[in-house]
């Protein structure tokens, strides 16, 4: 989320040279960078190029961010600019000399970036909340979100709990997830987006 104090603390640690804090930022936001790249339909090679530009750029600029809490926004904008740079370079060196319009996929507009941003921050909060669940809850929910979803008889066998208690345990674990401090602040704004997301995919 935009004014997450934990992001401000992470940025401060990175500025002091803390590699672990940097890794946490990468862990939290690399899905954002990655998903924006895929929206631009870049090749894997180009995505690596963009990633390099984005993260090296962050290393350079992290001490100068006007609002450290807006780090995700900075990353989203920088990723978009890097994607456009790579696309422009590809167009310049295109051997067939096709007109630009034929080669450039339509530029996903700022709305897309904003959507990716909201989604990425929500996802990061969900993952952080999930990571802090108790072991039994973590195991159960991990199984339930696997693809394809397992039958309750399988879950019962794998986790050694009666089929009849899976439903109540699921509800209790999701209740714990809901109460996580990571989500408590966050979801109050984004709840509408989560619901919408669930129905549009």
């Amino acid at each position: 989320m935009r004014d997450d104090p934990s992001v401000i603390a992470l940025v401060a640690r990175v500025v002091d040279g803390d590699q672990q804090a940097w890794n946490e930022i990468v862990e939290r936001y690399s899905p954002l960078v990655w998903s924006i790249c895929t929206r631009y339909q870049l090749s894997r090679h180009d995505i690596d190029d963009v990633g390099q530009g984005v993260w090296l750029g962050l290393v350079e600029h992290i001490g100068k961010l006007r609002q450290p809490a807006a780090l995700a926004g900075w990353l989203a904008t920088t990723t978009r600019n890097e994607c456009l740079r790579v696309l422009r370079a590809a167009r310049r060196y295109d051997p067939d000399g096709l007109p630009a319009e034929d080669l450039m996929p339509p530029d996903p507009d700022a709305t897309m970036i904003e959507q990716e941003l909201i989604e990425a921050e929500l996802n990061a909060a969900l993952r952080a909340a999930f990571a802090e669940l108790s072991q039994p809850c973590h195991k159960l929910l991990s199984m339930l979100i696997s693809d394809p979803p397992p039958a309750y008889t399988e879950v019962s066998k794998a986790l050694d709990i009666p089929v009849g208690s899976i439903g109540p345990t699921r509800a209790r674990c999701l209740g714990r997830l809901r109460q996580s401090p990571h989500l408590a602040d966050f979801l109050s704004d984004a709840a509408g987006d989560v619901g919408a997301r669930g129905t549009t995919r």
Partner: protein, 154 residues
């Protein structure tokens, strides 16, 4: 806006969680590793000189004639203390530090070994051959000011 606790059903919350985990799993391990490694380029002692002009990016296409379009590429990096101007020739990079001063210029390639060149008293230096991959320039002025450019790929 609805409150999350009240607004999201258990099924919706579980689906949101599934998507959050899937979004992370979609990112290749090498992409993450490269991002982590980028931190090795952290340099707290030098002031960053940002790219403020790139003839390839900033030149106005409508105004450029054929000859201008074919002219050499020019880049300008600016920090609070100095400006580094670069021109990309056919075989070398020619640069100048403004205001004019002697300096030690270190070419830092992303992969490969560093090389040093000296900027003379009017701030001019030359780098040959032109670095192949991504690189940046670290400039230590005679007065001891450390400046580093953003990454350059030519």
């Amino acid at each position: 806006m609805r409150m999350a606790g009240a607004g999201l059903s258990d099924d919706e919350l579980l689906e949101a969680l599934r998507q959050a985990i899937a979004a992370r799993e979609a990112v290749p391990a090498e992409f993450i590793a490269a991002a982590r490694n980028a931190f090795a380029w952290h340099d707290i002692d030098a002031e960053l000189a940002q790219l403020t002009y790139d003839s390839m990016r900033d030149a106005e296409p409508a105004l450029s004639t054929r000859t201008e379009a074919a002219s050499i590429r020019a880049l300008t990096f600016t920090s609070g203390h100095l400006t580094i101007e670069l021109e990309v020739g056919t075989e070398s990079l020619v640069g100048q530090i403004v205001p004019a001063q002697t300096a030690l210029i270190t070419v830092q390639p992303m992969s490969g070994t560093e090389t040093n060149v000296q900027a003379d008293e009017i701030g001019c230096f030359s780098i040959a051959p032109i670095p192949a991959g991504q690189f940046r320039l670290r400039c230590r002025s005679g007065a001891g000011v450390e400046t580093i450019t953003g990454w350059i790929a030519l």
